[in-house]
Amino acid sequence: MVEYISKRILFLIPVLIGITIFVFLMRVFVPGDPVDIMLFGQPSTPEIRENLRQQLGLNEPIIVQYGIFMRGVFRGDLGNSLRSRQPVTVEIADHFPNTIRLTLASLSLAIIIGIFTGVLSAIYKDSWVDVLSMLISLIGISMPAFWLGLLLIMNVGVRVPWIPVMGSGTWRHLILPAFTLGLIASAIIARMTRSCMLDVLQKEYIRTARAKGLAEKRIIYKHALRNALIPVVTIVGMQFGYLLGGAFIIEIVFNYTGIGVQAINAIMWRDFPMIQGITLVVAFTFVMVNLAVDLLYSLLNPQIRYD
């Protein structure tokens, strides 16, 4: 167990280094001169440009530039936003918590709705409950999240005065965006829960439990659900990433102040330090969440092989 955990963490190091290389290369591969982008709209002389190049280390060999970039990463210095002139880390620290809040709220909703629906479908397999919820979940998987967001604004937001349709700040501002993302993610979790549950319900230990004369409720919640949820845990990590990505678009729909709105503005303005900073922070977060999920999985499932 300890060996597994340390191995898992050790394997993380090349991935983390890989992420920093990817993010560093983003700027290298951008067509055009970064100095042009930085001086956009400002008068410049060859001297100013040369000074700026020196300052940014753009005349150094690539590998040295990567070294400078990495030194910044370790110091928590990702440069300044070209637009607001604020340190990138400050900008991210201001907005990322909002996005995480939205992601976690939608993830919780997705898990609750998804598992509940999935279990219900599995227990009443082929009944109208099952057919209907699987039909709805199929539609949910096929819906563009931003469209569902617009539909919710149109049908709920406009009718229910105490639910705000735009902005951020209070828990009420979270309701519509979190439901938008949560409903769509719950569709995937519901289908997964249903098939795992059906799988488990055919196992011998369930038959044994039935033969023992245990109450059906006890069989389902104590024996079946516990085992069926183990594989469901693995997709929660993936779902976190999906929701984090989805949050970027949903923030735009609801004008919710988070890192997604910032990222998209940064892309429009070609604000590269900002884009790099956001990419780096999001990837690191996603990797850490997946690590946590893997460790949780190995705790929950004693059958896992540690190799």
């Binding site: 991935v15 539609i139 617009l150 729909v253 429009m268």
Partner: protein, 291 residues
Amino acid sequence: MNNKTSRKFIKPHTPQWKRNLIILSRKNSARIGGAILLIIILTAIFAPFIATHDPYKMDIINRLTPPGEDFILGSDNMGRDIFSRIIYGTRITLQIGFIAVTIGLVIGLFFGLLTGYLGGVFDLVFMRFVDVLMAFPPFLLALAIVAVLGPSLTNAMIAVGIGGLPIFIRTIRSATMEAKVEDYVEASIAQGASTSRVLIKHILPNITSPIIILVTLRFPVAILSAAALSFIGLGAQPPTPEWGALLVGARAYIRAAPWVVNYPGLAIMITVLAFNLLGNALRDVFDPRVR
């Protein structure tokens, strides 16, 4: 789900692929999904004959007209016919799916076959590279690539294609690893066949099922991601009638003109649904583990 129909009589000595096709054609989800897709493909081909208006023609006097005689599904804020724009949009949507999936498939086949077959150090090192790609949530990987390449429809397709790369490589790699230990592969190697011959003649034909399933199920993901990129202004640029792009700015007319929001989204949903139905049916038929 429907075991009764799939057990119905199929003539003996029918080749496996034909057998699978027969089972597939008996599944309702495959029938519905396939039929919708056929309609969408025909719509894309015959768009000029189906559309009632020029999809680019603005008509400011008739802006935001409700659905009715002049405009079947209403007009947008520039007075353009939404129905005609959706009809022409089928071309773009199918193209997005096709190009994005092809990018993933071609690159995925090359590296997936190679790492799966060669194994060893090459596999170990290369898969760490794939791990790095997997460290980004898929949509954000696409977003990062668009950030580098710049916003355009072509770049969105490339970005979505690369975003799907990890899953293509991993699926093809693991299928290859399973196939390469089969007797017929070892026999061929023993006879002195070259690596490329073994890969193309013996392994590739035997891993088509997971690839077909994956391709079908990647289409809807690609269409959704590209629509999302267009919606936030990083994909198709105005006035292209891409479905996601049709919803840009629609938020402002939610009260006054709900049809601007409703129909393009519905078009995306129906298309994605059709691919999902077909993909799920294919998976049920071709994946022995599910059957």
